[in-house]
Amino acid sequence: MSGQTQSDLKSWGDILNPVEMQRHQQVGLLGIVALFVLPLVIPAIYAIYLSSALFFATFVMSWDFVSGYTGEISFGHGLFFGVGGYTSGMLNLHMGIDPWIAAPIGAVAAGIAGLLIGFPSLRVQGPYFSLITLVTPIILISVFRFFPDLTGGELGLVSVGTVEKFSAIGPIPSPGFDPYSGYYLALFVFLLALVIFVAITRSDAGMVLTAIRADEISVAATGKNPAKFKLFAFVLSGLVGGLAGAMYGHSVGGFNVSELLALIISIEVIVAAILGGIGTITGAAIGGLFFYLLRVFMRNIEFTIPVVNVPVGEIYFLLFGIVTLGFLFYLPEGIVPRLVGEWRARSEPQAGEAVADGGKSRGERIVEEWTDDLRELFGGERR
């Protein structure tokens, strides 16, 4: 049991043993421990911010799992958050189903939505597929407008009636009313998503999903059904995104178009994933938290910009956009891949497994393939 020779099989103990992990994995585990103890030291208002950030990061991971891995860029992931959230909210509002039961049903509804969205991805090329995903949440919003009695239209379910929050379980106070309880619910959903997505992407399926992005025909030629893997990714992404949407609505958030379904949500999710590092899951988790908290932080700055005489809090979104652009420009591979790369370079300069240095990051590859598809659609040559 030397554990040194390459051909030795690793046991589950080796893989999950924190002492044996690489530096960045250990830091990640420390971060998770920190998330557990954080509520002990922060005031309630920050617990609420952090809960929303954790839910948002879960959204981002659900996007990264499908788009970051298979390369099928979804511009409308809000659909899943919306279907999950609204299904659960309406089941409670109109039929009186307990939120603890309604939320998993909402997740399943979003999983079915994932299956339906996944089917066109089997036939349609990159940019066309992206357009389909862009349009579907917009269609859903329009449908909602037709049935304001049921959905509350643009205003959300709150305009129809009061959707119940999660009830208290024994000594644990309701996550809808106690900020710390809400925080731990958010943390639970976040960690559940993180564990599921990391486990799958680090297992063999992750290798197949990225291979689909690289060359679907070759995936089939090595005996794997690309459609099966793609649909699986969409369904799971929908399930997790929908669960997060429902959990969010019944705890720290609400059931509004602007919080779940709106285009801006779908776009923010993509930007956050790029910031953190596409196709890594951990990058999406960190990018999501970072993105959300940075926005809250900038909104709360009480500083008036001298010359133009505008408080930062009023134009925070503009500044936030500029900061984001800066990140995208100077850190295209994302925060997490950059940090991990630097660590590796420092700690093990002659690593056995040559990383494709000088090569492109996942995010850059995805964008490149997408624009290649686009160019082809418009009659140009692929590069």
């Binding site: 063999d204 090595t222 005996g223 699986f232 040559a354």
Partner: protein, 268 residues
């Protein structure tokens, strides 16, 4: 190999082989019966029938544009044939998708090379080793890695397995294609144009690798438009032209066949 010389030939010779070729499903490991593929008005493969025997190395020869790759693509499930039947081990497998054909034991390589450009040679082979299952963890525990290293060494990529595909020379890409096909543990491999662009020494190395595979029980179909290096390797050849069967026989018979010489070798 100029295409002008081919287009100078009008019709292929009248009766190259007897027309009444009917194959039963059990006539070979792989049987194509009346295979036809039309793209719009173009008939790329026209009523082609042949059988591949267990553990032989069959040469599948024909000038550029004769329909070799199309025949291949119809058999391996890239697209379905317009007409005709494909049997594999007595079972009708016509139009089955590629991944199912691989599951049945029929692997292929790509003439145009289709590596996964985003990962190392080793990771390419590892990816090929991964089973068609959503929840599989053999890669996580290092099983596929050890196996992939063995395969890379076997095809002669041992020193280059940590490189990226675009750093490989032409012969290296071919080796990668072979390693990836071998990773699916096939009973039969269809190898598309292995010798194109290879130097003499490399042809010898690839030939001995293929011979080795055959000795281990794999049936091989080797496609090439060029007979250089091929006739020494194969047991038997099928020659097609204009999507139709032109000749069939041992390498000597093919070399002597006047139809083949006229339609094909004559153009050299």
């Amino acid at each position: 190999m100029s295409s002008g010389a081919q287009s100078g030939d009008a019709e292929p010779p009248a009766e190259p082989v007897d027309d009444a070729r009917n194959f039963d499903p059990d006539d070979g490991v792989l049987v194509a019966d009346g295979l036809t593929k039309r793209f719009g008005g173009l008939t790329a493969v026209d009523d082609l029938s042949f059988a591949v025997e267990e553990q032989e190395i069959l040469g599948f020869i024909g000038p550029n544009g004769a329909g070799k790759s199309t025949t291949f693509n119809c058999i391996t499930g890239r697209y379905p044939p317009t007409d005709g039947t494909v049997y594999y081990r007595g079972e009708d497998v016509t139009g089955l998708p590629a991944y199912e054909m691989v599951g049945k034991g029929l692997a292929r390589t790509f003439q145009e090379f289709r590596p996964f450009e985003d990962r190392t040679i080793l990771a390419n082979v590892q990816t090929a080793l991964v089973p068609d299952e959503l929840f599989s963890t053999s890669g996580l525990r290092g099983e596929t890695r050890a196996e992939a290293i063995k395969l890379c060494e076997r095809v002669g990529l041992g020193d280059e397995m940590h490189r990226m595909p675009d750093e490989l020379p032409h012969a290296g890409m071919l080796r990668l294609e072979l390693a990836r096909a071998m990773a699916t543990d096939p009973d039969m491999m269809l190898i598309d144009e292995p010798f194109a662009g290879l130097a003499e020494g490399e042809i010898g190395q690839i030939s001995s690798l293929l011979t080795e595979l055959r000795e281990e029980g794999t049936t091989l179909v080797v496609v090439d438009h060029n007979m250089r290096g091929l006739l020494e390797l194969i047991d038997r050849a099928i020659v097609i032209n204009f999507g139709e069967l032109l000749a069939e026989g041992t390498p000597e018979e093919i070399r002597e066949n006047p139809d083949v010489q006229e339609a094909y070798l004559g153009s050299e």
